[in-house]
Subunit: 214 residues, 8 copies
Amino acid sequence: QRRGIPEGIFAAGKTAPQVVALAETALETTGRALITRADDAQIEALESNLLESFPDATLERWSTTVLVRAADAERPSLDATVGIVTAGTVDGPVADEAAAVCRDAGVTIDRVDDVGVAALDRLLDQLERLREADVLIVAAGREGALPTVVAGLVDSPVIGVPVSSGYGHAGDGEAALAGMLQSCTILSVVNVDAGFVAGAQATLFARTLDRART
Amino acid sequence: QRRGIPEGIFAAGKTAPQVVALAETALETTGRALITRADDAQIEALESNLLESFPDATLERWSTTVLVRAADAERPSLDATVGIVTAGTVDGPVADEAAAVCRDAGVTIDRVDDVGVAALDRLLDQLERLREADVLIVAAGREGALPTVVAGLVDSPVIGVPVSSGYGHAGDGEAALAGMLQSCTILSVVNVDAGFVAGAQATLFARTLDRART
Amino acid sequence: QRRGIPEGIFAAGKTAPQVVALAETALETTGRALITRADDAQIEALESNLLESFPDATLERWSTTVLVRAADAERPSLDATVGIVTAGTVDGPVADEAAAVCRDAGVTIDRVDDVGVAALDRLLDQLERLREADVLIVAAGREGALPTVVAGLVDSPVIGVPVSSGYGHAGDGEAALAGMLQSCTILSVVNVDAGFVAGAQATLFARTLDRART
Amino acid sequence: QRRGIPEGIFAAGKTAPQVVALAETALETTGRALITRADDAQIEALESNLLESFPDATLERWSTTVLVRAADAERPSLDATVGIVTAGTVDGPVADEAAAVCRDAGVTIDRVDDVGVAALDRLLDQLERLREADVLIVAAGREGALPTVVAGLVDSPVIGVPVSSGYGHAGDGEAALAGMLQSCTILSVVNVDAGFVAGAQATLFARTLDRART
Amino acid sequence: QRRGIPEGIFAAGKTAPQVVALAETALETTGRALITRADDAQIEALESNLLESFPDATLERWSTTVLVRAADAERPSLDATVGIVTAGTVDGPVADEAAAVCRDAGVTIDRVDDVGVAALDRLLDQLERLREADVLIVAAGREGALPTVVAGLVDSPVIGVPVSSGYGHAGDGEAALAGMLQSCTILSVVNVDAGFVAGAQATLFARTLDRART
Amino acid sequence: QRRGIPEGIFAAGKTAPQVVALAETALETTGRALITRADDAQIEALESNLLESFPDATLERWSTTVLVRAADAERPSLDATVGIVTAGTVDGPVADEAAAVCRDAGVTIDRVDDVGVAALDRLLDQLERLREADVLIVAAGREGALPTVVAGLVDSPVIGVPVSSGYGHAGDGEAALAGMLQSCTILSVVNVDAGFVAGAQATLFARTLDRART
Amino acid sequence: QRRGIPEGIFAAGKTAPQVVALAETALETTGRALITRADDAQIEALESNLLESFPDATLERWSTTVLVRAADAERPSLDATVGIVTAGTVDGPVADEAAAVCRDAGVTIDRVDDVGVAALDRLLDQLERLREADVLIVAAGREGALPTVVAGLVDSPVIGVPVSSGYGHAGDGEAALAGMLQSCTILSVVNVDAGFVAGAQATLFARTLDRART
Amino acid sequence: QRRGIPEGIFAAGKTAPQVVALAETALETTGRALITRADDAQIEALESNLLESFPDATLERWSTTVLVRAADAERPSLDATVGIVTAGTVDGPVADEAAAVCRDAGVTIDRVDDVGVAALDRLLDQLERLREADVLIVAAGREGALPTVVAGLVDSPVIGVPVSSGYGHAGDGEAALAGMLQSCTILSVVNVDAGFVAGAQATLFARTLDRART
Ligand SMILES: Nc1ncnc2c1ncn2[C@@H]1O[C@H](COP(=O)(O)O)[C@@H](O)[C@H]1O
Ligand SMILES: Nc1ncnc2c1ncn2[C@@H]1O[C@H](COP(=O)(O)O)[C@@H](O)[C@H]1O
Ligand SMILES: Nc1ncnc2c1ncn2[C@@H]1O[C@H](COP(=O)(O)O)[C@@H](O)[C@H]1O
Ligand SMILES: Nc1ncnc2c1ncn2[C@@H]1O[C@H](COP(=O)(O)O)[C@@H](O)[C@H]1O
Ligand SMILES: [Mg+2]
Ligand SMILES: [Mg+2]
Ligand SMILES: [Mg+2]
Ligand SMILES: [Mg+2]
Ligand SMILES: [Mg+2]
Ligand SMILES: [Mg+2]
Ligand SMILES: [Mg+2]
Ligand SMILES: [Mg+2]
């Protein structure tokens, strides 16, 4: 694809062999495959079958996201740091999608987990790290207040990612999305659970920054 | 009414004479009148006409809310403090409704304004005052994150009041309401702009507390 | 957590071993574990595995909610009564969540079941009990009218809990939530099925009251 | 129209002369005109202009609804009683629409006002009257609990009419509509503010009943 | 229950033994049991287990609805006819719920199936039968136009029942519900799939009519 | 524009001089101007000011839609007939928008008004005319049943246009839109009140047909 | 059915034997059967069982859609071309429904796949083919931009089909539907995933065109 | 504010003197004032009254947005270019908000107007300019397809701004917002009409880039 972001393979709703086949094609044509929303069976299939056909490929896994790279795939390195921040455990897999896209592009990642607004001191303890990133991706579910609070504490751009946790009224990520769109601090936003998109947007910025720095 | 909360007179959509007439009846039958969502013309009419008929009555005004009490109306005093907190200027009139109900009941009010989450240090500066209240009413619009953050910092119960500010998607207070219902800290909530209800609920708490203390 | 409310372990969507592991950690670090929305298999696992590791712990179960307390966990007792009221059988598990939080805190609970507005005389028969509670939690599904009616009959604060029963238009608890937010009597409200939150909010008030009384 | 219900003239959004012209045509062709949602200017125009052209016609007014009948229009009388019940003042004009349709058809009307569920004793005081009606129309806004409660107390069919009062979340009658559709007692329902439709449906019942009785 | 309508046992989401147990209790205490939304396994359990305990009871089944009556249960007969009309096959089980309630009460039922508006001549062929009913229940899914059209052709009251068929935008019965509420002919309406409620409302009217006739 | 449909000038929310200026530009550059949703003042301004600048132009008006054509504008004539059908008076202006686009293109229009489903015989009386059109545009508000019924009676394609009449739940044309999308007969649909779009779509088909015929 | 479009058999939610039985009846009475939304098991059952009973029938399959035609069924041929266009792989089965209806009617189909707006050059490469069709069906999910873009490039009518792909906010086809209804180019639209309806509407156009051409 | 973005003064709903007073305070305390959503009267008041008090200040206006800077206010210049793109005239004022924030920060702006997807060649003609910007803000209403298409053509990050144009279903910018969230190309998004937020987010990017470049 034009922008150098790999096509993600969205595993949910596909059979394990379908996922492996799509990953094989991606590996062959582009040297890498990025699989998101995979379950354990699909990941096992990738680990056994895919690595059989491509014995020299490397496979990295973050919860439900998998990045496979051919031995000879180019491994870029960009002079830019993306902070990836989560409010709680449930936000992890969504942040992992973002991390995988950044990793593929060679962005430096600074991951800060479990700093949701219910325990503000844990967040404030990480303030210096948050301020050092060039751009921040902040994932939060339920009421999704974390990106709003972070964007009041740092000078760099913040991309909010609403997560589909919660239950009852607006519990499928809609409360978090609405809150981020209404944020009283400056945010741009992606769709619910769209860690992939947030990672890609941060990567596009990182690449511009890398060119400016080098 | 059974619970000792005055019937509010909802002025929006009524003519000034209608509002005055309703207030007169309330004054006559209960010794006080609480008027909410009044505009300047309605308040002027109350000030000139109502005080003409009831020259000894006292009239207090908070932005769009007015409390009139007959000279001989009982003026209770309760041994309990309600903290009333706003995120920004736009939340003022909604908080004023709550304050008027508390004032009528003789609750001690501690008002803390303009401590929205975009400037967290202003909020943290007020932490001791917030921790001293017996119960807190926190009004916030847009993404409505303030009650969530406050409830992570204090031990007393917090009642969230979503305010109908904001624009675009979920901008009529719906984002704030959804966020408070999904809050990752413990809150109970009232409807959008329902400062009156929050004030009444806090008053019911305060009265029970007063009885326990005296 | 600051406010002395245990972190609930939300069992829905977790495996039985995950639930047991989380409960073990909670028991070790805080002396108790509160598990909500557990199914039979998860509860059996708790009963056999958890009590094996902590043979002196006590386990109490209310439908889908489980409270485990270490032998040496402190068992507080608060001088305050929370009335927990349901409209019908389907509201039971939601009320049980509230009860478990109150129980953990040592609040006196007065439980009144099956007094929905379709049979008003059953409700009126319980009026004296309802009036004696310091604060009331009222859970109701479908049209959710019960908290509104109760709040017209008592002087203490009422917290409404909408329950996700019903079907068709707004049948997932949305009708009940909307009705409680629009209530013509004074209520504060929590999210659909959020018995846990209602119990915690009532507990915070009970604790303040206990301090006032003792 | 086939069913003997007059075409209502929906005045909202029309000019006074348009309303008068439509009413004249209705009077000429059917001997009567039923005008709903009229404001004061439109009603004055009807009173002066219409009664000038039809000096022998009679004009009855209920808040925003007007029924004009030619001197020689048939004035039926049906042996059936429709109870028309409101929760509060704001529900009056909606109930008046229903009353006008029933009145035109010659149904006996028993009107019971201001018996909302916030003051249950006022409702219970009217129980005998409510039980004597052949069919009940119950109009209520905000949370719309009244028809549900009434339908638990009587044996005759109840038609619920949600009223567009309230504010904030679902405050345009949507909460009341949702609640009536989810009612835990037996109701059928019409659209928000559709007093006209409720009156017509009750009239159709009443006419069948009249034929059975005579 | 006061109104003589049996409590329906909503089988969906219950185990077969639970359904049987609830039905046994109902049979013992009221002489009959009405089970709705039952699947084949639940119905088989009712047929084998329930009839074992109550060998003289009779069991009638209409698709997913079952009516069991004790040998000595009273079998009333009312002098009134309810027309039950469906647009298509998919509306059958919803209409069956209505039919079972009417059957239990002894109402005469005239069932007219498969006369949806896509084939208007089939509907017009049944016009005489439709006109002879005292009250009509009309169930339709997708766009739900059938009750509107029927109510333009008959003089008796029509109760519309939206059915949760269809797919895509508003495909869960919401389009049909909205259309019936907006109907340009006179209808009252029940919730999506609420055949039970429609049957009960028609029965209440039929009983009044029966008293008038006898 | 590529497809030969004029750019409509949407007058709502513009001043009369703005509308005239836009119409002048359109006349100059394309020889014609099509103005929709114009009020009386805007239309008077067009009639006096525009015709002053372009004295030989012709102006045609249908309720709120105006078509102005320069003296030398080409006046095509297509060998194809579009039936334009309305349910009631309120649908007229929306149908007029469609008619104006068709008229501009030289399509033969067969207009059939006031044949809503509440009076089915008026519709059936027009059946032969409806069956002769090459394509039908059917506009209806409230429950929007008319296009569904028409499409069950004719062999040609039907384009449904939901109209924003009605009130209460889904009363802004949403019920009609949802119903047309769920139609049990074959329809394609345009947005609420989008008579312009329906007219343009019918014109595109008419032009293809004209080419086939000549 | 009047319009010569076969009744589709909607397989989703039916058992394989039910689908086979419905298909048999259709084959017997109309000489063909069109089955949509079938899964592999249902299609295998059709292939083995149905072709056993009707050994001379032909069965064609496109992903989840199956068209069976008796040996002696008429096989019409229409002088008209429908372009069927998809944005991506996920839109294939929806487009296949449309194709099957067109195929049954003898329309010439020009299928253009995988030309979504993310890779505009692939779309522009197919422009000549798109411009040669008499009418276009364009299926797209997620944001559903493709029909809008296509309709800006061709002169023939375009029917948009929103597809229920996507996730998060409005991810069930609602974003695509809303976008097509709001399109800044001329479109008519069918419901989400309603390939069947789009194919039928295009066929009705094609049949009129064929009559004009021959 | 920490991030160096001025507090905007949201003029809608304020009186002209209020707006002037807020602008005066802003000028005094920060050396500049940024007023958004101002009408002609408010802007005239700013031009006459404000410039009277601050005769050396400069005032720049873009449709409804005004930027006033004191004579001695710092006028930064950043080595970064933001492309600001609109689909049509109606999107202008929203884009102007973005432009004013960028202008205040000294960002180079490249504005490209009226390149909506209905006329794709106009967009493709500007491709080189679009590709040269460091970051793009793309504002579009109705179906909001433009940001999606642009993001498929350039390598830099794109921020989509949905505009509240359109009518009927989802016509208040909701269709555009939903489409941008579902975009099949990489976008981040701000709320409907939130040009201010988009401009601020782009400025934060630009400032980081400027630091990297200098
Ligand atoms: N039934 C419940 N209702 C509301 N919150 C809960 C419930 N059960 C657990 N929680 C809280 O939800 C948060 C996330 O829980 P978990 O998903 O287990 O990490 C924790 O703060 C719990 O205290
Ligand atoms: N208040 C009302 N509620 C419901 N329908 C009404 C009401 N008033 C008039 N109608 C009906 O609405 C339709 C359109 O009325 P109009 O807008 O006056 O042409 C007619 O069938 C009237 O009988
Ligand atoms: N994929 C489809 N999309 C739209 N309508 C369909 C589809 N498949 C079948 N139908 C129609 O849906 C109606 C009900 O189908 P069924 O549920 O099989 O009785 C019939 O009129 C079918 O022609
Ligand atoms: N056009 C705008 N879009 C988004 N935020 C704005 C806009 N204009 C002002 N603001 C911000 O909205 C908040 C409230 O503004 P105000 O209502 O004027 O007090 C402040 O933080 C402003 O910076
Ligand atoms: Mg959070
Ligand atoms: Mg806030
Ligand atoms: Mg209830
Ligand atoms: Mg009420
Ligand atoms: Mg139907
Ligand atoms: Mg209609
Ligand atoms: Mg697409
Ligand atoms: Mg656009």
